[in-house]
């Protein structure tokens, strides 16, 4: 505990000293503020870059273990220096631009994608009071920024003037765009329960301190959490939704032609986005930095690490889905279920109100928060089970029809074979 306090204090003192130094040079005012903000944003960016290097190593090691391989083990002890080796390689690789490419578009695309990926981190609360900027539309901002990368992907696909690239880009965009809908719809219950779009408010609602009741939203809206995670994985284009880089089909998707640092930027964008999804999941559903005893940073780190490990686990075990399965799963299952889920949460939250004062003024039955959470939890699970049952029945019927068809053909075959034999 005290150790963390000491670290906190040191950080604060250093930060204050740097700020004072800048103000002493530029004089207090807009310019100094701007420089300080610039510095802060740079620090966040570089933390992201370091996290990216760490994540690539962790993922390669863990997925390797899952698939019964060893993973990187040559560079440094346990291959720990592998990300640095990769970085050097990326920096010194020759950067080719296809002669036929649309130069401007081709060169701008990786930049745009990386900028949009990093922009998300401006609103994420890392600890009480430690947040780039507490926008009152935080969640909405994150989703909006996330949607911006689609244009960049199209730019990359188009700019390369390569059939694989363009095809990959189109498929990627169709996927990203589709899975954004369930993501949008499943943030809604959280916003409703928290009564705010600010990420700080959402976290505070899940803590025991300022007006929160200490119940993480995953217990109040488990179905939303599940769908958010699935669509988040799809949004970042990770396995099992990694059709965009299906090596066996379209080589590597929209970034076939890229090499060197530009490729690294795409790679960075992918990992930074995956990390952002884990952090957003933690903030929205697991209570962000909230937690007893341990300091906030550590809680956030632990939770994000757990979610990211889950992502890696999924990546290591699940096979890739087919493109038609991908689209059907989204539009025919996730989206309808999300819509019903939103309505469900909406109605239950209004009928069983956790706040006695609000219940009095707006109608509804006043219940303790725990009871409300319990009701929400059971109804969400019930909805999930019901829809799964529905799908299972549908699938069984389809299978039966198929089996019947096959049997018919086999019978026809036998008749034909008998004819041949008779002749």
């Amino acid at each position: 505990m005290t150790v963390f306090e000491v670290i906190n204090n040191i950080l604060k003192i250093v930060g204050d000293a740097v700020a004072a130094f800048i103000i002493s040079i530029l004089g207090a005012g807009g310019l100094a503020d701007f420089v300080i903000m610039l510095l802060a944003a740079l620090i966040i960016c570089s933390i992201c870059a370091v996290a990216f290097m760490g994540l690539t190593y962790a993922e390669r090691k863990i997925v390797a273990r899952i698939q019964d391989r060893i993973g990187p083990n040559q560079a440094g002890p346990y291959g720990l220096l592998q990300p640095i080796a990769d970085g050097i390689k990326m920096f010194t690789k020759e950067d080719t631009t296809p002669a036929e490419a649309d130069r401007w578009v081709y060169n701008l695309a990786p930049l745009v994608i990386a900028v949009f990926a990093l922009l998300t981190y401006a609103v994420i609360p890392f600890a009480p009071g430690v947040v780039g900027t507490n926008l009152n539309i935080g969640v909405f901002y994150v989703i909006a920024v996330g949607s911006g990368s689609t244009v960049a992907i199209l730019m990359a696909g188009w700019g390369s003037n390569n059939k694989y690239s363009l095809l990959g880009a189109f498929r990627t965009v169709a996927q990203l765009v589709g899975y954004e809908v369930p993501m949008l719809l499943n943030v809604l219950p959280v916003v409703m329960l928290a009564g705010s779009m600010s990420l700080v408010d959402i976290v505070e609602r899940q803590t025991l301190s300022n007006g929160g009741n200490g119940i993480p939203f995953i217990l109040m809206a488990p179905l939303s959490a599940l769908i958010f995670l699935i669509s988040g994985i799809a949004e970042t284009g990770r396995s099992p939704f990694d059709l965009l880089e299906a090596e066996s089909e379209i080589v590597a998707g929209f970034h076939v032609e890229y090499s060197g640092m530009k490729f690294a930027l795409f790679f960075l964008g992918e990992y930074v986005n995956a990390l952002a999804v884990s952090i957003m999941f933690t903030v929205l559903f697991l209570g962000g930095y909230a937690g007893p005893i341990l300091p906030p940073y550590v809680w956030l780190l632990l939770k994000v690490a757990a979610v990211f490990t889950l992502l890696m686990w999924l990546r290591g075990t699940l096979p890739r889905v087919r493109v038609d399965q991908l689209m059907s799963f989204n539009w025919k299952f996730l989206v309808p279920m999300s819509i019903v889920n939103v309505i469900l949460v909406m109605v239950i939250g209004k009928v069983f109100v956790a706040d006695a004062v609000l219940a009095q003024s707006n109608g509804g039955i006043a219940v303790p928060p725990i009871v409300q959470a319990l009701i929400l939890f059971t109804s969400s699970i019930a909805l999930l089970l019901a829809s799964l049952l529905l799908v299972a029945r549908q699938a069984r019927q389809l299978r039966l029809v198929e089996a019947e068809d096959i049997e018919k053909r086999v019978a026809q075959n036998k008749v034909a074979a008998a004819k041949v034999v008779a002749q």
Binding site: R60, F140, A144, K163, F170, A246, T317, I406, Q412
Partner: protein, 231 residues
């Protein structure tokens, strides 16, 4: 000049410049990208006005959705880079644009026109020269907006009408799509030799059902599991 004014001028230049480029570039894809830049500039205006919600909505809808729609539509045309033919209706378009601009200027600008004794426009426009025209939005602006949207006495009816509009748009889109699909099928039949039209190499192959007793499911599964291996 304050920082806000400088930013306003810069953003305006970007928006106008890219808007001009949208209509002058020959390359349709580049035109779409300039449109995105223009949209982004408009989002910048919203940020300057302290309307963060609208800025984010602008990015989400116009950059994340509408521009994607435009680019997909562009790719439906035949000659994306070499579209040389001019639009035969450009004169009509120019007239309509001019009229709309005049009406907008009348509605929003600080002047008026008198036609047959009736005054159109607003000569003493309140914001015209007033430096304080831009007022900060209230803190809980989005919440107030939400309350207004679902209140039947305020914007409840337009809110529901918006949903109906979306429904109608969906019906219309599907109707148009059927037409397009029909045409696509015709074309595909016409030019089976040159298959540049449909380069989607990854169609789920529609295998005819096997005549002998083979396990179709296994065939599918092995294809799905093709690339669990990671780079």
């Amino acid at each position: 000049m304050t920082l806000q004014q400088i930013l306003f001028i810069v953003i305006s230049l970007v928006v106008l410049g890219s808007a001009v480029l949208v209509v002058t570039t020959r390359n349709l894809f580049h035109a779409a990208l300039f449109l995105v830049v223009s949209f982004f500039g408009v989002a910048g205006f919203y940020v300057l006005l302290d309307a963060g919600f609208f800025a984010a909505a602008q990015v989400l809808v116009y950059i994340g959705a509408i521009s994607i729609l435009f680019i997909f539509a562009v790719m439906l045309t035949r000659d994306v880079i070499t579209a040389q033919r001019g639009n035969s209706q450009w004169q009509a378009a120019a007239i309509v644009a001019g009229v709309i601009f005049l009406i907008m200027a009348l509605l929003l600008g600080p002047f008026s026109v008198t036609i047959r004794g009736r005054e159109f426009g607003n000569a003493n426009w309140p914001f015209a020269m007033d430096g304080n025209a831009i007022k900060a939005a209230p803190g809980n602006f989005v919440g107030i907006l939400g309350t207004g949207l679902v209140d039947l006495n305020q914007y409840g009816v337009p809110f529901l009408l918006a949903a109906v509009l979306l429904l109608v748009a969906m019906v219309g889109a599907i109707w148009v799509a059927r037409e397009l699909r029909g045409r696509e099928a015709e074309r595909a039949a016409a030019e089976t030799a040159v298959d540049d039209a449909d380069m989607d190499a990854n169609q789920p192959v529609q295998e005819p059902l096997p005549l002998i007793e083979t396990e179709t499911h296994e065939a599918h599964d092995s294809r799905n599991a093709a690339a669990t291996e990671k780079h």
